[in-house]
């Protein structure tokens, strides 16, 4: 238990991580990097869950369960995403997201 650290610190950290993830997702052209940015977003949410659970309802555990679920889902999602990226690479010989633009008008 980290005493003396107010909840706002955790929330600021989570917000920074979240927007760093969004920024990475929108600016990086490499699909793998974008995937990593997505993980950053998910983890920022996990921190929020944990912080609120700990500070607001210390006797309950729903926030932790949620975090565990998010971690599990993020792991499987990463597997699926990597599979998609491998397929994209086989098909287009690139993982630059700007070159993968066949789905348009």
């Amino acid at each position: 238990m980290i005493t003396g650290v107010p909840v706002q610190y955790f929330l600021i950290l989570a917000t920074l991580m979240f927007f760093a993830g969004v920024y990475g997702f929108l600016t990086r052209r490499n699909l793998i990097t974008m995937l990593m940015a997505t993980e950053l977003i998910l983890n920022s949410v996990n921190i929020n869950f944990m912080a609120f659970n700990r500070y607001l309802y210390p006797q309950k555990m729903e926030g932790m369960f949620f975090s565990l679920f998010v971690i599990a889902v993020a792991a499987s999602e990463a597997a699926v995403a990597i599979a998609i990226i491998i397929n994209i690479y086989r098909r287009f010989a690139t993982i630059n997201v700007e070159d993968v633009n066949q789905m348009k008008f």
Partner: protein, 639 residues
């Protein structure tokens, strides 16, 4: 109570035969399919005669009147609690009589066709259509309700269309079949309107409750009036419009002469004996309503009939195509039947006209079918329809000649042949009712005798024509029906019709009225005499007369330009001033609205389609911006 349940086979058998010949006919030998069709019709002819015998001589009468018997009835379409369309079989004097007429003539025509159509392409198709026609016509005559009648009414129209256009590679036949279908269909629109008005006001389709003397149609004649006539009268006039179309009365007669493009046995069956009298049958079926509740509509029937019979008789005098002469003669004789109904009263001896009409329908079916089949035998021998290319055929075609002469004498009303009796009853009925109509019909009787014998003398006497091939008598398959029908024409007059077929089912005594019979025979003889003088030998009289009455001859020869009037009205008036603006409105306003909506949508979508660029990160940017904007909006601005 006698069980008439077997009468269902009268309907089913020809229908099954149609399916068999229509679906599997091309696999059968032509001869076999012809024989099958004929055998099927033979069976239902026998059934019809049995039915007629049982109905007229063994069925129970109530107070001496023949009853209407529902042999079978089933609900076909249940629309609401009260409104349902049934299919069934109704037996009453006129429907039983029509069963006899239709099956007899149809059977004769079937036998004849085996000979006449021999070697034609589509032999089995012909017999399939004949079976379809027989089925439809029989369904029409035994209809238990007006809607069933309408259904079969359209079916006979379709069969007529198919058979007129039998030689579908011939453009004139195709035109004629289209014309027949469209003209009758137009008239049937009136019939449908009439049915709807009538059943809306009476809440029933059923003939028995419609024509019941205590039924709603007859007792509740009131109701809103339009242009001085009650709603019921209007509905009966509309119903009669259907009859006018089918029976080729003025002004819807234009399809009948053209319908002669079909094979001759078809003309005999459909366009002389059975289908074209459906209009007469319809009026007879609804007769109690016409007579008791809508006398104005009945007057329309009488005048249209009289005018048509006169018009057709005048036209028939100048035509040279033998089948067209017979077609106009048919129209004229049906006009007689319509007139007889129109001048008739209801019940007992007042119903003389009704009886006379049915009587004439019966005898006319025999002798007109005979005339057409005879004409077919002549065409078969000479390979031409035009009487100008015939002459002196009596030596080559003795049997045809004898039977044709009998038929001509019958239609001219010479006693003791059947036409004399029925025509005499009609003239008597007309005399008692309306002197003007009597005078018209009296003149038509003379004209009939004249044009029929003009035809007869031009074909069998007249000039000695040189033929490329010596004409030969038709085969026995064709002459036997001629002989049977000739016997029918001779003796049908002795059937005591007034005992059997009357307006209210009660038999009454009818007798030959000498004051009518003698003058009508006289005018018939005068007509024959004039024809004898003009056409017995080749003379210059016809040409001189034609030259002397140039204009009337020209008008009559061109059928009083009714066809041209139709063309003028449709092409120059309806097409130009109604159809063209409607077409313009449809193309420019209706289509234009739809097209401009589509055009605007397309325009907008071309402008905005750039948003869908395929760039994943652009979508993400828009999504994130939107989410943040919504968050700001909901948290800070939405109070």
């Amino acid at each position: 109570m006698i069980n008439f349940g077997y009468t269902i086979w009268i309907l089913l058998l020809p229908f099954l035969m149609f399916l068999l010949l229509g679906l599997a006919g091309h696999k059968l030998k032509p001869k076999l399919s012809g024989l099958l069709g004929t055998a099927g019709l033979g069976i239902i002819t026998v059934l019809s005669y049995i039915t007629a015998y049982k109905y007229f001589f063994t069925s129970e009468k109530v107070d001496g009147a023949y009853q209407k018997i529902i042999a079978l009835n089933g609900v076909w379409l249940q629309l609401t609690e009260n409104l349902h369309i049934d299919i069934g079989i109704l037996l009453d004097p006129i429907s039983v009589m029509m069963l006899i007429v239709v099956t007899t003539v149809s059977f004769m025509v079937h036998i004849y066709s085996i000979g006449y159509m021999h070697g034609e392409k589509g032999f089995e198709r012909f017999f399939a259509f004949l079976s379809l026609f027989s089925f439809s016509m029989l369904g029409l005559v035994v209809a238990t309700n007006i809607f069933q009648m309408y259904i079969f009414w359209e079916l006979v129209g379709v069969s007529s269309y198919l058979l007129i256009g039998f030689y579908y590679t011939k453009p004139s036949a195709v035109r004629a079949s289209k014309k027949a279908f469209i003209v009758t269909r137009f008239a049937d629109m009136g019939f449908l309107i009439g049915i709807l008005i009538l059943s809306f006001n009476t809440k029933t389709f059923d003939f028995i409750s419609l024509t019941s003397l205590t039924g709603p149609a007859i007792t509740q004649t009131g109701g809103a009036a339009f242009m001085g006539l009650s709603v019921l009268t209007w509905s009966m006039i509309f119903v009669y419009m259907g009859g006018v179309g089918k029976s080729a009365m003025f002004p819807f007669h234009i399809w009948l002469p053209d319908a002669m493009e079909g094979p001759t046995p078809v003309s005999a069956l459909i366009h002389a004996a059975t289908m074209v009298v459906a209009g007469v049958y319809l009026v007879a079926r609804m007769f109690p309503i016409y007579s008791l509740a809508a006398p104005d509509a009945l007057n329309v029937v009488a005048y249209v009939g009289a005018f048509s019979s006169l018009l057709a008789a005048v036209i028939a005098c100048t035509q040279t195509d033998i089948k067209r002469v017979l077609a106009f003669s048919t129209m004229s004789q049906i006009g007689y039947m319509m007139l007889a109904l129109g001048v008739s009263g209801y019940g007992g001896h007042d119903g003389l006209g009704y009886m006379a009409s049915m009587f004439h329908l019966f005898t006319h079916a025999m002798f007109k079918a005979l005339l057409f089949l005879g004409a077919g035998a002549i065409i078969h021998a000479v390979h031409s329809n035009h009487m100008t290319e015939m002459g002196g055929l009596r030596k080559y075609l003795p049997i045809t000649h004898a039977t044709f002469l009998i038929a001509c004498l019958t239609i001219a009303g010479i006693p003791p042949l059947s036409g004399f009796f029925s025509k005499d009853e009609i003239l008597t009925a007309a005399l008692h009712h309306n002197k003007l109509l009597f005078a018209v019909e009296y003149a038509v009787a003379g004209l009939t005798a004249f044009y029929m014998f003009r035809l007869y003398f031009s074909i069998f006497w007249g000039k000695e024509t040189h033929y490329h091939h010596t004409p030969h008598e038709a085969p026995a398959l064709m002459t036997i029906p001629l002989i049977i029908l000739a016997i029918g024409s001779v003796f049908a007059g002795f059937i005591p019709f007034s005992k059997l077929v009357t307006s209210d089912g009660m038999p009454f005594e009818s007798h030959i009225e000498m004051s009518v019979a003698v003058p009508s025979v006289l005018i018939g003889l005068i007509g024959i005499g004039i024809a004898f003088i003009m056409y017995r030998k080749e003379t210059a009289i016809p040409d001189r007369l034609a030259a002397a009455f140039k204009y009337s001859y020209k008008w009559s020869y061109n059928k009083f330009y009714v066809d041209e009037a139709y063309i003028f009205i449709t092409k120059n008036i309806i097409f130009r001033y109604i159809s063209t603006p409607i077409a313009w409105f449809d193309r420019h306003i209706i289509d234009g609205t739809m097209n401009s909506i589509a055009f605007v949508a397309q325009l907008v979508s071309f402008r905005i389609r750039g948003f869908q660029s395929g760039q994943l990160q652009k979508y993400g940017f828009v999504f994130v911006t939107g989410a943040i904007s919504l968050a700001i909006l909901l948290i800070y601005l939405w109070k």
